[in-house]
Amino acid sequence: MAVMTYRDALRSAMAEEMERDESVVLLGEDIGIYGGTHLVTNGLIDQFGPKRVIDTPIAEGGFTGAAIGMAMAGMRPIVEMMTWNFSFLAADQIIQNAAKLRYFSGGQVNVPLVIRGPNGGGVQLSAQHTHSLEGFYGHFPGLKVVSPATPEDVKGMMLHAIRDPDPVIFLEAGALYGIKGEVPEGDFEVEFGKARVAREGSDVTLIAYGRQVPMLLKVADQLEEQDISAEVIDLRSIRPFDKETIVESVRKTHRAVVVQEQWRYFSVASEVCAVLQHEAFDDLDAPVERVSGAEVPAPYARNLEIAAFPSVEQVISAARRVLYLEK
């Protein structure tokens, strides 16, 4: 095991796989000479040259589409969305082409493509630069959508994503680039479709993904002080969606809180509630509580931004509500 940051784990997954597999290339804005806005690709152009680390113009739809074409023709491109906020410009390519090509070609072509970049808010980038798009992309069959929250997962899931024959939407938690954690040495994969029990507990299940996972661990610590044992589940894989792990946990705890910075309606948290009420109807001792972002475009001012996202206090209070310790 080595300790490294989320950012370095991500970079090492790409660099190692590029060493192993020449069909892997990177495309994106300022990922080469500039070094990557978030330094995720820093240095790779020196190592692999400009034919494999391709700086593109500001044309998310165009270069995502080109990467789809590359994937169809035998390459394994990794597209960097400088931030996922810009991916609305590539939504047509992602949803209409990448996700559906295998199907409407009757299986004649595959699209082994990874689209990655930071996602989520928290650093005052305001309305146009703050989105958490797990549910948005997760809605579409044909895509695989993941949201790793630890250095180990981001490396293992990236290695899996690059080797996956299908298009993968790789939603990194931008706010976590700097966090450190243990990462296994050598080549390893973290498979898709399996949620992770980040902490075991018995009284209540707390569910999240991305940057809300470390927050839930903090919440669990605080709940422990109140003699409440919280199980924390990191969904990590959004599509395929792992029902089993959350249902199993709720069978044990009988209570759940799901937390996301995403907007409440038609979201990942909605799905968690829908699944739990269906699969664990008789096990639930209280309605599943959702804690979501405020129903507003993200504001800039620091105090407003903080108020726009779920807080530790809100989650604690939701946990206490499902335990009928408060209203």
């Binding site: 069909s23 290339v25 400009p50 034919k51 593109t56 113009p57 044309a59 739809g61 165009g62 270069f63 995502t64 589409g65 080109a66 990467a67 789809i68 074409g69 590359m70 994937a71 169809m72 023709a73 035998g74 390459m75 491109p77 047509d92 390519q93 209409q96 082409n97 090509l101 295998r102 199907y103 409407f104 070609s105 009757g106 299986g107 004649q108 072509v109 595959n110 069959p141 044909g142 695989k144 996956d164 024959p165 299908d166 498979e191 898709f192 479709g193 599509r239 395929p240």
Partner: protein, 363 residues
């Protein structure tokens, strides 16, 4: 071998005098000539496509084909001419008006028709329909339904060809209506850029049939000299009369070779006309006059080629035979499609992922 021409734009118009003597490529000359036998072969393929489209249109009217149906009638010389110069390993990609491209690249017309009918024997198993023909084995990388959406894909494929050290190229077909879409702009700009390092052997073939649905070129842009738009991307280009097979062949031979040799994109504007409605649901055609259609019908690439062949001494009876055989082939395709079974219901849930995801049924 004649080297690729680097001198940019060149106009080949129907009015230009043609050398009618038999022969093939002539070194150092722009003109390619085909002897009567070769032209008869092209005639046959074009007639087969036309009659295929007629059969499909009839089936649509009979309710045997659902969804949308866009036929290529009037534009055959364009795909015929360019596809003629494809080599093993080359790829093409186009929009939804894709029957001709698939068939010319070797797709079995029976499988294509069966696709239109939504049958399990269809070329994409009945899953895509008319707009999404694929014949990947033959290099036909699909028909696409979102106007302009396939253009970036073609550019990326061209990069892949060079990146993988193959000498294949991409022929990228797209309509005049799609040129005003951002996807074209972004993709053409990438192509120009990648061409600087010889990483983009992509032949852009603008099928300018003068309308995007009911919108004429004049009503879609203030700058109607569409081919000139390539210049914004550093892409050299030329225009060709897409109703004239020989003119197309001449340009296609040279352009295809040039792209292959240079690794740079090159632009074509093939000027033609859709002699039929936009799609099977375009009943009124309020956007153009009967007179205009009639005038263009005189330039029908198939009848003009027939006239040329007669001039060259080919017997009318031979052409008649070709037409009869083509009719039969189209009818057979329709019969095959009609008699084929629907896809097995289990097919609903396959081909969503290549790996690892269980797919849930409706309910």
């Amino acid at each position: 071998m004649r080297t690729a021409r680097e001198d940019g734009k060149r106009q080949t118009s129907a009015a230009e005098p043609k050398n009618t003597s038999a022969g093939h490529v002539r070194e150092g000359q722009a003109q390619v000539q085909f002897d009567a036998e070769a032209l008869v072969g092209f005639y046959q393929q074009m007639v087969e496509i036309r009659l295929f489209e007629d059969a499909a249109s009839k089936a649509f009217r009979q309710g045997k084909i659902g969804g949308y149906l866009h036929v290529y009638s009037g534009q055959e010389a364009v795909a015929m001419g360019f596809i003629n110069y494809l080599q093993e390993g080359d790829l093409t990609i186009t929009a939804y008006r894709d029957h001709a491209h698939a068939i010319l690249q070797g797709a079995d017309p029976k499988a294509v028709m069966a696709e239109l009918y939504g049958k399990g024997t269809g070329i994409v198993k009945g899953k895509g329909g008319s707009m999404h023909l694929f014949h990947a084995e033959g290099g036909m990388m699909g028909g696409y339904g979102i106007v302009g959406g396939h253009i970036p894909l073609g550019v990326g494929m061209a990069y892949a060809k060079r990146y993988r050290g193959e000498d294949g190229i991409v022929q990228l077909y797209y309509g005049d209506g799609s040129m005003h879409n951002g996807a074209f702009h972004e993709a053409a700009n990438l192509a120009g850029l990648w061409g600087k390092s010889e990483m983009c052997p992509c032949l852009f073939i603008l099928e300018n049939n003068q309308y995007g649905m009911g919108t004429s070129v004049e009503r879609a842009t203030a700058m109607t000299d569409l081919g000139k738009k390539y210049e914004s991307y550093g892409i050299e280009w030329e225009r060709v009369d897409g109703m004239d097979l020989e003119a197309v062949l001449e340009v296609a031979e040279r352009a295809t070779k040039r792209v292959r040799e240079t690794g740079k994109p090159y632009g074509i504007e093939a000027y033609s006309y859709r002699l039929v409605p936009h799609g099977a649901a375009d009943f009124l055609e309020k956007y153009r006059t009967k007179e205009e259609v009639r005038k263009w019908r005189e330039k029908d690439p198939i009848t003009t080629l027939a006239a040329r062949l007669l001039d060259m001494g080919v017997e009318e009876s031979r052409l008649e035979e070709i037409r009869a055989a083509a009719k039969e082939k189209a009818d057979e395709a329709a019969k095959f499609a009609d008699e084929s079974p629907e896809p097995d219901l289990s097919e609903l849930l396959t081909d969503v992922y290549a790996e690892g995801v269980p797919v849930e049924a409706a309910g």
